[in-house]
């Protein structure tokens, strides 16, 4: 344990940010790393709890108290190894994870949690800097081949684990670049894409083969896969966005968030966007519908593009500023969260339902909304009703729909395979075996779980890899 009384003596210190007015001028990361000495000190705040709630709060079950202690004692290399023992890509989660671990941290009950995410990120960043992170090439090779469909975080994690178990792994990616939503969805200012490239090189050396522009079910047939591979992991994500089928939806200027965000990521990566399809927020009144992380990314991206105004709408009530920890901790609480993008300038509205879009010349110009209220019904569920007479409207030149994703895209492979789906349209497989109804066809990540966090995707990818390994060999040394 770091220091017995560290938590009583030291305050939480986190990474700081470049000032909002500066950072909105570019698309680069704006986190300012903490001095390693300060990171060490932050490690001392960890109490090494008898029950480390963080460790369960963290979806990949990072051994947080253990590496906190190591960081405090300047044993960074060991901390890095330990971190990698549960998480393939801590540099991703160290940047974009909402850190449920910190919500579960014991110090969060009465004080500020340990800066777990900052420490995690510092450990892995230092590892890259020092050249400690090397390919872990499996010493034994199996004669098994596994295909991983999709190269998002779960696909990558799954592929890396399988390669390390000695299998030959090929990752099929329909896009021209590897990374899935990490690459196309998450703005560079939150996570720069070189991080993915770096991991890809590591994985290539570990024996993973990447096949881009390979859309299984379209330009690559399932039959080919079945012939070549002894197991197939589907990590295609949950790409089917939730739509808003109201009047005026067809108007120009109403887009899904992912259309907007991926274009910007392409742009940052140096790709020229065809002006016909170009979506830009520059000089526009932007309305983002949906109050989640994707919505927030739209806000940040819009501001960087030079929007005139940015407004975000959320159907649910405004959550409390502070949660009632007595009834939430150690769970992830519903509470008001203000992201760095929000801090950069944005008006937020809650309890708003969009009734229709209005437009001029086929281009959207206005949103008609109504206020709603949420009341608990007899069965304990919250029910929404519109408040009569509360109708109002927004000026809008660009509307971005960020209301989440409902399930994986069924068209193509999934339909071809006839794989069994859950009631909400995800692939059916349990979270120990990850096996679908189709022989040797496994599923992990958002396509199985439904839309979720990157860290969950990594967890599922790892567990799925273990299950595949077991399926192929009869037993597995991979961690569960």
């Amino acid at each position: 344990m770091g220091k017995t009384t560290g938590f009583m003596e030291l305050d939480r210190v986190e990474r700081s940010y470049e000032p909002a007015e500066d950072r909105i001028k570019h698309f680069k990361e704006f986190l300012i790393p903490l001095d390693p000495k300060e990171v060490s000190k932050q490690g001392a705040r960890c109490m090494d709890c008898g029950i480390p709630y963080c460790h369960q709060g963290c979806p990949v079950n990072n051994l947080i108290p253990d590496w906190n202690d190591m960081v405090y004692n300047n044993r960074w290399k060991e901390a890095l190894d330990l971190l990698h023992s549960t998480n393939n890509f801590p540099e991703f989660t160290g940047r974009i994870c909402p850190a449920p671990c910190e919500a579960s941290c014991t110090l969060n009950i009465t004080d500020n949690p340990v800066a777990i995410k900052t420490i995690e990120c510092s450990v892995v960043d230092r590892g890259w800097e020092e050249g400690w992170i090397k390919p872990q090439i499996s010493s034994k090779k199996s004669d098994k081949k596994v295909a991983v469909i999709g190269s998002g975080p779960s696909g990558l994690a799954c592929a890396q684990q399988l390669a390390r178990a000695g299998h030959s792994v090929v990752v099929f990616e329909k896009n021209e670049r590897i990374g899935g939503l990490l690459r196309i969805g998450i703005p560079d200012f939150k996570m720069e894409k070189t991080l993915i490239d770096r991991r890809m090189s590591q994985m290539k050396l570990e024996g993973v083969e990447f096949r881009v522009n390979s859309h299984v079910g379209k330009n690559v047939s399932m039959e080919e896969l079945n012939n070549e591979f002894q197991a197939i992991a589907f990590c295609g994500g949950s790409e089917h966005p939730r739509d808003l089928p109201v009047e005026g939806r067809e108007l120009k200027g109403v887009y899904f968030a992912m259309e907007f965000l991926s274009q910007q990521n392409d742009r940052v990566s140096g790709k020229t966007i065809n002006s016909e399809i170009e979506i830009s927020a520059k000089g526009k009144n932007v309305l983002v519908i949906g109050g989640g992380d994707t919505g927030s990314d739209c806000v940040g991206t819009s501001n960087r593009q030079g929007a005139k105004s940015v407004t975000q709408l959320e159907l649910l009530d405004q959550p409390p500023e502070k949660e009632d920890k007595a009834l939430t901790w150690p769970n992830w609480p519903m509470k008001m969260r203000t992201s760095t993008s929000h801090q950069e300038g944005c008006e937020r509205n809650w309890s708003v339902l969009t009734k229709s879009f209005e437009g001029k010349d086929g281009e959207v110009s206005k949103l008609n909304c109504v206020k709603v209220e949420w009341i608990k019904s007899d069965d304990g569920r919250m029910k929404m009703s519109e408040i009569k007479g509360s109708e109002f409207s927004f000026e809008a030149d660009l509307v971005l729909l960020a209301m989440g994703f409902v399930h994986p895209i069924h068209e193509g492979l999934i339909k071809q395979l006839g794989v069994k789906l859950t009631s909400v349209g995800n692939l059916e497989a349990n979270d120990t075996k990850y096996q679908t109804s189709v022989n040797k066809f496994f599923a992990a990540g958002d396509s199985r779980r439904g839309q979720s966090l990157v860290v969950w995707a990594i967890k599922e990818g790892r567990q799925c890899a273990r299950s595949i390994d077991e399926f192929l060999i009869g037993k597995s040394d991979l961690p569960n």
């Binding site: 009583m8 090494d48 709890c49 008898g50 709630y53 709060g57 009950i109 150690p330």
Partner: protein, 1548 residues
């Protein structure tokens, strides 16, 4: 059931969890002797009178006429027998030439006939001659009903010397063989077909002595044996015994005395001792017994009695040629090892024999005789009382108490003294004199040249030059080895690393909530299947730190000399190690010991590894067989005499058999073959690293252990530590830590020496099949079955495969472990983020649905098995009822209590929150150890109450005032605690803030030690006494005894019920703690399920169930737990951890660090602010539990809770067929059917009969009525005898209830007693009462003294000089809070132990004076025993050191000694100053106190000192604890700065 169904001689056979081998007994005992060897009739009756007057030391079970047994051993009444036979054909030769056999024959005529014939045949076979038989006339009317039916037929037979010309001792040896052979003949009657001959028992067969004993109450013994009435029935000596057993089964043969002795105490190491005796079978030969030696096996007769076993061994030694006292010195040696004051010759004697015979360790007061010498001795700890007086007509009366013969006039007594630890009192009837311990032993130790023998034979390992070490493994191989031996990160983090930093066995907190090894999905170490057993009630644990002088870790490695041939002394080389943990260099030395001993010792290393490639073929049993037979071969061929079992060969290809399994298998194999003492057994293993591991290897036979991998691991750890530690230092610290830990484990069972611990098997197995245990861990108890050799092999091979396999997680790192702190990939924990979060949300939001989610998670055993109760299912055969018909929540919650948690361990607000909640519910909260603020005794304005209804009395007695006790509903005597049974404890000075100091009546900043034992409970009859004491103080309160589950706890509970406890708690080993050695926390005690079931079964079988309430605690969490607890036999239920979690605890396991972040287990004011618990949260928890209980009851069709208790048919054992390990478990023994004895209920339905109406206090209270009401002064006289016990306590209780701790004005009540008082004279005597006793007193005078004044001085007619005679017994002023005590004479051991504030004067004291004292002033005007001031953290003592020897008697580890003359003798200060500032005014204070002593006792010594003050003053020493002095000085400084701060010292 009727016991008769089960046994002919009383004990039932093993049934359910009941096992007769767990029975215990303690007692009153002693002897009488006429020094001039003049046989007298009155000695018989005096002996019987004593037994009668020691009645309170015996017990009565369910049958009021059936005692636990009483008896006397006397000289053969030669004259009587001659006159009896005057008209018969029988002619007796002269005394010494004939033997008399006293025999209990079967009541069945046919069987009795066979018995008689067997004896007669044996006599003929041995060439002797039967003279005749005599029916012993008895009066069966005095027998109780339960005893009558199986009373034996009692006969005597007479034998004379046959044709050969035998000396008396040769004849006696023949009689011995005849006795042994009689049973063999019987057992072989049906061609070896096993027939139980339990009911055939030759009580005695001797040329000198005869025993009369039986299952009768002491006063009835003389009515039963009609011979006693005959005037010519005479003896010059008598041993007598009054038994208190933990059962009510009439077992005639277990009444004492045995053939040579009677015993008060308990031999803790009896299992090991028995094994070692058997182990000598083929290595013993005797010049005197010759071929007869073969005819006496088994030497140790089948018996559940340790005393009988001891007697058997003693008899062998005496028959083998040792004198009786010499044999006793071998078996119960003094503490010689660390005694610098002992004569070197005597030391050599003990050292020499320590290689021949391991001590029979445990509290023992033994009286023994061969008819010519009669003697008594105490073991090294001196934990049993033994007082004696000598009269002017040469009568010696030695007994547990003084004053046992009521009509001996004081003026006839010439000496009053006591037996001292390790000392012997011997009367030689031939020489007609008392031989002193000094003379006796001096003669014995000079028989042989022991010093020379040792010089010639002893090889000390430390004296051997360095050997070349093996090359340590590379890091990567080290990791593989660690993994192969099951190391995980916690081994490093919680054990090895802290050990080399702190140098002690590491401390942890909260309880165990991981599954039993057999239920775990992990590959557990074999060590995890064993739990340490420990002493509770029937024998005391030892404090290995404060009483280090009795402890020894010395071990001999190698063959042992022939036990029965002392003349061969000095020939066999003996390798001695000072402690049993061998460094990596030590083991190399042993491997090459041949070179250092000219071949006299030779070691052979035997690998316990096997080749992986063959593992499909090789099974453990075959491998072990090969190992055992090859070792047997080596021994018989004399190839070597030291065996080193080694797993050094482990590598990728080689797998090691678990070292524990191999060690025990070899040890037991060699015992069975009678070869064990021909060879030394050393274990070289990578497996052992924790204290528990090492203890197990020792307990199953290892003489020394080399944990080589632990050392290699340490070498790696120190490279990574921030601070610099050398390898040497790290190894030293590690050895120091583990040996300290081992001492602690040994001392938990009251075992002092490694030699007796080795092979003593002080463990219970949980989760091992009996097939496995019987074969490889023979003699160990295992009650729930479990895994077999195959599973052990599987776990071993799994570990090996993981270690040398490719698991990426294990490539560069150890497994996480997760036993001590939760880890996802680690061991399963019942308390985890999910269960804790859900429970807290439920109680805070008062949401029963959320609670159900919690309890569902806790109860779910479908995926992971967590505990034994998880394997039970509720019966589906019953018809459910409506929940409305079930007893309401408000009734059920009354059965609930919160666990004992002290104010020191948890914050006040956490403590009061629980109390308020429990009082709102009508349940009970528990103070825990350490007192309670008196303000809490009064209700709060809003009607709430913070008064904890259960007041705990623990070994520290902190804050246990009369007022505290009188405000209790329940008084709980904490015998043990689940997390650290028999452990004791320590509150460091830093934690003793003003508040804690105030309620504990101690000094802020001064550490407080809770001793491992209650110093007034060393045995069951002592417990009965404390129960009686407490009941007197507060007759309305229930007195409860808290025990911890282990195999045998049921028999202890039965004893507790017989000792009149109203309530007993059975705690599981899952219980929590604020701080405990992790070794204890994880590895001691057993699950509550077995302990509770055993308790209930044993109580029911004994007919003792309905008079005692049974509570269970230790990890209860849900309604299901409660119902299962009830069905297994509990009336009431304790919750500690779950209740704490309800008020906010999150299982940080940081209680011992004072950093609890939620303000529960901390005294830090900043952290306490974080506490958010509300009484309502706790109330909600208990209401939810009760709700759930009702739901289950409805499902089972039970409306009344009482109908649930003990209803075993409501549970089914489902088993765990699917589980790879747990499939072997079988819990059916927990739910065996029971029959009601005499229609007794299965639940607590009536009260105990405490006999309080007999208390003298009733009379005193009546007389003092006006004083109590109006504070009117009164003084009067009263006679007192030893059966008047606890005088003053009831009176004080009445006063404290009315006036609180302040009591009455000084001297309001003054009583002058005359006589010998019973135990606990003046216990908890309240302020305002003065007791003056003219005569003498027994043990525990002034126990818990709460302000009263006590003086004891010799009778005015007495001629003895007070300062040379004993005036009062042992353990005086234990836990005294305030008051004064003046004793005009010498007292026994442990004077003023844990005194908090009393002032006391005495004129000499025994060992361990002022032990654990925390306050007060003690003056000793004479000699002290050894180990004075051990653990003394506060208060001061003045000792008159006339011979300048005190320093060598003082334990100076915590105190400093100063001359008083160094202090200024200023007279200008007030009495108040003198009393309050203990740093100064010594001279005035001392004078003041001695003057008072004279005033109260008229002590001649006091007068002499006062009259010659200037001469005596320089002879006084002041003893002040360092910590106390520092704290008082700091306080003084603070006072100078802050004038308002009161000087607060202990006792004020």
């Amino acid at each position: 059931m009727s016991v008769n169904k089960y046994s002919k001689m009383g004990f039932p056979k093993e049934y359910g969890l009941y096992d007769p081998n767990n029975e215990h007994e303690n007692c009153g005992f002693g002897f009488l002797a006429n020094i001039n060897n003049e046989p007298k009739h009155e000695i018989v009756h005096q002996a019987l009178e004593i037994v009668h007057n020691l009645d309170h030391r015996g017990a009565v079970g369910a049958d009021p006429l059936a005692g636990d047994g009483a008896g006397i051993l006397i000289q053969i009444p030669d004259e009587f027998f001659r006159e009896e036979f005057i008209n018969s054909e029988i002619q007796l030769p002269e005394i010494g030439s004939y033997g008399v056999g006293m025999v209990f024959l079967p009541s069945n005529v046919k069987r009795a006939y066979l018995g008689i014939k067997a004896i007669e045949k044996a006599i003929i076979n041995e060439g002797q001659e039967l003279i005749g038989w005599r029916d012993v006339p008895v009066d069966k009317k005095v027998l109780g009903n339960t005893v009558k039916d199986n009373a034996p037929l009692i006969k005597q037979f007479f034998v004379k010397i046959g044709k050969e010309n035998l000396s008396e001792s040769q004849f006696q040896r023949k009689l011995y063989v005849i006795r042994k052979q009689s049973l063999s003949i019987l057992e072989n009657i049906n061609n070896n077909k096993v027939v139980d001959w339990d009911d055939f028992y030759i009580v005695s067969l001797s040329t000198r002595t005869i025993i009369f004993k039986g299952m009768v109450l002491a006063p009835n013994l003389s009515k039963f044996y009609i011979d006693f009435q005959k005037k010519n029935f005479k003896t010059a000596i008598a041993l007598f015994h009054q038994r208190f057993s933990t059962n009510t089964f009439p077992s005639w043969r277990l009444a004492q005395p045995f053939r040579y002795l009677c015993h008060n105490g308990e031999i803790n190491t009896v299992k090991g001792n028995t094994n070692w005796m058997n182990a000598r079978r083929f290595s013993m030969s005797s010049e005197v017994l010759k071929d007869d030696l073969k005819k006496i096996w088994p030497i140790i007769e089948k018996s559940p009695s340790d005393s009988a076993t001891f007697d058997n061994a003693l008899e062998l030694l005496v028959m083998g040629g040792y004198s009786l006292p010499e044999a006793m010195m071998l078996m119960i040696p003094e503490a010689w090892k660390n005694n610098l004051l002992m004569d070197p010759k005597r030391k050599s004697f003990y050292e020499y024999y320590s290689a021949l015979m391991e001590p029979w360790d445990g509290p023992a007061a033994m009286a023994f005789t061969d008819g010519i010498q009669i003697a008594a001795t105490l073991d090294r700890n001196g934990l049993r009382p033994a007082r004696y007086v000598i009269t002017d007509d040469d009568l010696v009366i030695m007994s547990s108490e003084v004053g046992v013969i009521h009509n001996i006039p004081e003026h006839k007594i010439v000496k009053k003294w006591r037996l001292q630890p390790g000392k012997m009192l011997l009367v030689d009837l031939n020489q007609k004199r008392i031989i002193s311990d000094e003379e006796l032993k001096n003669d014995i130790v000079n028989i042989h040249p022991y010093e020379n023998w040792i010089k010639n034979s002893k090889v000390s390992l430390s004296a051997i030059t360095y050997e070349t070490n093996k090359v340590p493994p590379e890091d990567s191989l080290l990791l593989d080895l660690q993994q192969a031996f099951g190391y995980n990160k916690e081994d490093l983090k919680f054990f090895l690393e802290p050990m080399i930093i702190d140098g002690q066995d590491p401390i942890g907190s909260m309880g165990r909530d991981i599954p039993l090894a057999a239920l775990s999905d992990k590959n557990r170490m074999l060590y995890d299947y064993f739990f340490q057993t420990f002493a509770q009630v029937t024998n005391p644990p030892i404090d290995p730190i404060r009483e280090e002088l009795v402890m020894s870790l010395m071990s001999f490695i190698g063959p042992r000399p022939n036990l029965l041939d002392p003349k061969s002394g000095g020939k066999q080389k003996l390798l001695e190690v000072s402690q049993p943990i061998l460094s990596n260099n030590d083991i190399e030395k042993i491997k090459r010991i041949e070179n250092h001993t000219s071949g006299a010792l030779k070691a052979q290393t035997i690998s316990i590894c096997y080749d992986k490639k063959n593992n499909s073929k090789l099974k453990f049993d075959e491998l072990l067989k090969t190992i055992c037979t090859s070792i047997e071969d080596l021994i018989t061929k004399k190839t070597c005499n030291i065996i080193i079992l080694s797993d050094r060969d482990v590598n990728n290809e080689q797998i090691a058999i678990p070292a524990l399994l191999a060690t025990s298998a070899v040890h037991h194999h060699l015992i069975k073959k009678g070869l064990r003492t021909k060879v030394g057994l050393v274990v070289e293993t990578g497996e052992a690293r924790r204290v528990h591991d090492l203890c197990l290897l020792a307990g199953y036979g290892a003489e020394a252990i080399n944990p080589y991998l632990a050392f290699y691991t340490l070498s790696k750890i120190i490279r990574e530590l921030p601070e610099e530690i050398s390898e040497e230092e790290a190894y030293d610290k590690y050895i120091k830590s583990v040996t300290k830990g081992m001492l602690k484990v040994m001392s938990k069972m009251g075992i002092s020496t490694y030699q007796s611990y080795s092979g003593a098997q002080i463990f219970d197995a949980v989760g091992l099949s009996s097939k496995l245990v019987d074969k490889y861990f023979c003699g160990t108890s295992s009650k729930v079955e479990g895994i077999d050799l195959e599973e052990i092999q599987k776990e071993t091979e799994n570990r090996h495969e993981l270690a040398f396999g490719n698991s990426p997680l294990l490539l560069n790192d150890l497994d996480v472990g997760g036993d001590l702190s939760f880890r996802i990939r680690g061991e399963e924990h019942v308390w985890n983020p999910e269960t804790i979060g859900t429970l807290q949300h439920a109680v805070r939001s008062a949401n029963y649905n959320t609670f159900k989610k919690y309890s569902k998670k806790i109860n779910d055993h479908s995926i992971k098995l967590k505990n034994l109760r998880g394997l039970f299912d509720f019966s589906k055969k019953t018809k459910p009822i409506n929940i409305e018909d079930v007893e309401p929540v408000s009734e059920i919650v009354k059965r609930f209590a919160t666990g004992a948690m002290s104010l020191g361990s948890i914050s006040t607000v956490a403590h009061t929150t629980l109390a308020i909640a429990m009082n709102r519910l009508g349940g009970r909260s528990n103070t825990g150890e350490g007192g309670e603020e008196t303000s809490r005794f009064k209700p709060l304005p809003n009607g709430d109450s913070m008064n904890s209804r259960i007041k705990q009395v623990a070994s520290g007695r902190f804050g246990v005032t009369t007022e505290y006790l009188s405000n209790a509903t329940d008084i709980q005597i904490k015998m043990a605690q689940g997390a650290k049974p028999a452990g004791g404890g320590q509150l460091p000075g830093g934690k003793v803030n003003d508040f804690i100091a105030k309620i504990r009546h101690s000094t802020p900043g001064v550490g407080l030690i809770s001793p491992p034992p209650h110093h007034d409970i060393y045995s069951i009859e002592d417990l009965a006494q404390l129960i009686h004491d407490l009941k007197n103080v507060n007759p309305k309160a229930r007195v409860s005894v808290k025990l911890v589950s282990e195999i045998g706890v049921g028999t202890v509970a039965a004893g507790v019920s017989k000792a009149y406890a109203d309530h007993v708690t059975i705690s599981g080993n899952d219980g929590g703690t604020g701080a405990s050695p992790i070794t204890s926390l994880l590895n001691a005690g057993g699950p509550w399920e077995t302990g509770l079931a055993e308790t209930h079964q044993t109580l029911v079988m004994n007919g003792l169930r309905e008079r005692i309430a049974v509570q269970v605690d230790g990890g209860l969490r849900t309604g299901r737990d409660v119902v299962i607890g009830a069905i297994l036999g509990a009336d009431e239920f304790g919750f500690a951890t779950a209740a704490l979690i309800s008020e906010g605890c999150i299982m940080m396991r940081k209680c011992h660090l004072n950093t609890c972040p939620v303000g529960v287990a901390t005294q830090d004011p900043e952290l306490i602010k974080n506490f958010t618990g509300q009484p309502d949260h706790v109330v909600n928890f208990f209401v939810f539990i009760a709700n759930e209980v009702r739901e289950i009851m409805a499902g089972l069709g039970i409306s009344k809770f009482n109908d649930l208790i003990g209803r075993r048919n409501l549970l089914d054992f489902g088993g765990a067929e699917q589980h790879w390990k747990a499939h072997g478990l079988n819990l059916n023994k927990l739910i065996v059917p029971l029959e009601k004895e005499n229609n007794e209920e299965f639940f607590n339905s009536r009260n105990q009969d405490h006999g309080l109406e007999k208390a003298l206090d009733n009379l005193l209270i009546k007389k003092c009525k006006q004083s109590i009401l109006n504070k009117k002064k009164i003084s009067f006289k009263s006679k007192i005898v030893n059966t008047n016990r606890t005088v003053g306590a009831m009176l004080s209780g009445v006063i404290a209830k009315k006036y609180g701790h302040n009591g009455l004005p000084k001297d309001t009540i003054k009583i002058d007693f005359e006589g010998s008082s019973g135990q606990s004279f003046g216990a908890w005597l309240a302020k305002g009462i003065s007791f003056n006793l003219e005569g003498d007193a027994n043990d525990y005078v002034g126990k818990g003294l709460s302000g009263g004044i006590i003086s004891v001085f010799p009778h005015r007619k007495s001629k003895i000089s007070p300062e040379d005679n004993i005036i009062a017994g042992n353990t005086l002023l234990y836990g005294a809070i305030a008051g004064e005590c003046y004793l005009n004479g010498v007292v026994g051991e442990r004077f003023a132990v844990r005194n908090s504030g009393a002032t006391a004067v005495v004129e000499g004291c025994g060992d361990h004076g002022c032990e654990y004292m925390t306050g007060g002033v003690v003056v000793i005007l004479g000699k002290t025993g050894r180990n004075f001031a051990a653990g003394m953290s506060g208060g001061i003592a003045y000792v008159l050191d006339e011979d300048n020897v005190f320093e060598s008697h003082c334990n100076k580890s915590m105190v400093e000694l100063e001359k008083l003359s160094d202090f200024k003798n200023s007279e200008k200060h007030t009495t108040k100053e003198i009393q309050t500032d203990l740093l100064d005014f010594d001279v005035s204070r001392l004078k003041l106190i001695i003057n008072r002593h004279f005033k109260y006792t008229k002590s001649p010594k006091a007068k002499l000192i006062i009259d010659n003050w200037d001469k005596y003053l320089p002879l006084f020493l002041k003893i002040t604890p360092y910590e106390f002095k520092r704290a008082l000085n700091e306080r003084k400084q603070r006072l100078l700065i802050n004038k308002d701060l009161p000087i607060k010292i202990a006792g004020e």
